[in-house]
Symmetry: C2
Subunit: 343 residues, 2 copies
Amino acid sequence: MSWSGRLSLAPPTLADVAERAGVSRQTVSNAVNNPELLRPDTLARVQDAINELGYLPNRAARNLRTRASHMIGLKFNPAQEGTANAAMDRFVHTLVETSGESGYHILLFSDTTDDPLGGYDDLLRSTAVDAFIVTDTYLGNPQAAWLTAQRAPFVAFGRPWDNPRASHAWVDVDGAAGTELATRHLLDKGHTRIAWIGWRKDSFIGEDRRSGWARAMHERDLPTTGLASRVEDTVASGRDAASALLDEAHPSAFVCASDTLAMGVLHALGDRGIYWGKDVAVVGFDDSQVAQVVPGGLTSVRQPLEQVAVELVKALEGLLSTPPVMGPGVLLSPTLAVRMSSG
Amino acid sequence: MSWSGRLSLAPPTLADVAERAGVSRQTVSNAVNNPELLRPDTLARVQDAINELGYLPNRAARNLRTRASHMIGLKFNPAQEGTANAAMDRFVHTLVETSGESGYHILLFSDTTDDPLGGYDDLLRSTAVDAFIVTDTYLGNPQAAWLTAQRAPFVAFGRPWDNPRASHAWVDVDGAAGTELATRHLLDKGHTRIAWIGWRKDSFIGEDRRSGWARAMHERDLPTTGLASRVEDTVASGRDAASALLDEAHPSAFVCASDTLAMGVLHALGDRGIYWGKDVAVVGFDDSQVAQVVPGGLTSVRQPLEQVAVELVKALEGLLSTPPVMGPGVLLSPTLAVRMSSG
DNA sequence: GGCGGCTTCTGGATCGTTCCAACGTGAGGA
DNA sequence: TCCTCACGTTGGAACGATCCAGAAGCCGCC
């Protein structure tokens, strides 16, 4: 039943329902928010009225009174053109669904200026959102510290690398475990000369992922010197790095910090007429769409983004409850999507 | 200057600013919303007070009074796994930026149920959003008709294919022009046997894109019979279709309705040891990340998604102004991103 | 029957903003 | 001097929900 068929344009209010049910406004409010306070027969009468009128609480009024917006702010960082990293998609979808089940909606914003704090401040001060989900926790990003100082509730996707004593809630994926998984997979296939192509040294995430590769190699007493390269996250860089490694270190397999770099390796192999998967194995990171549809398929470490979203919402619910409950950081394990590029 | 440094936890209100500036609340409100009503010296005094206190209007209160939320609802449809279609990303980013400049925020939602109207109704009735942007205008989707019946303001990304007399605002990309561009590009390269792989016949968008290919072919008096295939939008379907066409019609080039299908063609060519770009040319549709990073690069029709977002916001602004202004539908032209797969 | 104690329900106040009607002020004309 | 008029400014009411204190109803117990 919908109010849209009625003559009046305005949606029904609490008072309309109260009048129809023959009770006071407060009783209707209780029926909606604290049904257990009502006598069963009263509750039934009120709910009938609600259904007949198609009543739904006005969010603005509720927000004003409760000083909460039931919105969660998310800065939308688009994937860079020419890279394979469109993981945002899968993540955001689950985030929207999960938060919706908890009564929260996702509000997107972006920084128009170069200021990494752009957008956060305005939304917070205008009480447009109750909390934030912060995703870009790269080195030196001041968001976490700033939000903490503002006492703004937020949860981070990503560990506080540069401040181990940071007190905010976070959820992250164990990148080292992912590359270790990838490297072991290649070792089990019989490879011994496994190269690493990752990001520049100032990337905590890159170094973390690299450590997984190194750990798996050292575990089997295999050397890593001369087998690692650290470059920018572009296809061209990956291609150049792979080319240099092929010339100098003759690896039979590559583990990469991203699918973008892995695609660079495929380029380099293609340049030399080497078949990937058969002659040389390649593993990427992110299980992007590119990994899934490239001819043959690219083996790739898959982050449990759906699970990350669920954990983030869970943490936010704790943070926004009264009294606030703060769980410890959550570290999830990735899996490996095996395709032809690794045999 | 921020209020966060102050002792009181609550943000400053209009009344606080009014007191500090020595004027009434309404005058502050006017300073914010209708500055031209104030005498310059009063305006300056009020603005000083606003800056000193770091005042920003409370959105809930404003929304309640003005009966508007300044939010735009967008149903977030995630790309399917295993396809190359992650165009949402580029589109959403510009949408967030553009709408932000007009004072609107993007609210994401998703349908938890199978009901295509899921989510729309609740948001509308609870006055959580002022309008919607509808993106999935596939055949038989009742959203547009339903929203029209509810008198809910909305703008569609996609033409009202199944109802040419639909009265709502829309923005779309001329798919036929895109495939025509692609086909001409191949014709200019000397190809004459150019095949088409598209979607099943019940897809209006698919048939539109197909018509561009057919038009370009007929323009040069080239045959199209036996050169077209209509399948599902998966890599495997594209591969099978390409394989069959290669056997039966011996095309030297393919134009596809999506990058996903084009990747299927690349698979089929790879299976036969045919070099794409050199022996057989391939053009996709969407300029996805896959097209950009696949070895050699896939030539692809690029939709002006940024421009679409801008036009959508422009149309929404008209719709939400008083009185509402409804422009005609807007049809934008795609471009062609040429890469190695077409020579 | 009267009275505390518990549940259930009520009316008024409140959140922070904008709408509305009315008010004070100063310039200009009679 | 008085009146008109326009401009700038003001206080009260309203938006629709929830919080709060208290009233009404109901129970059993003395």
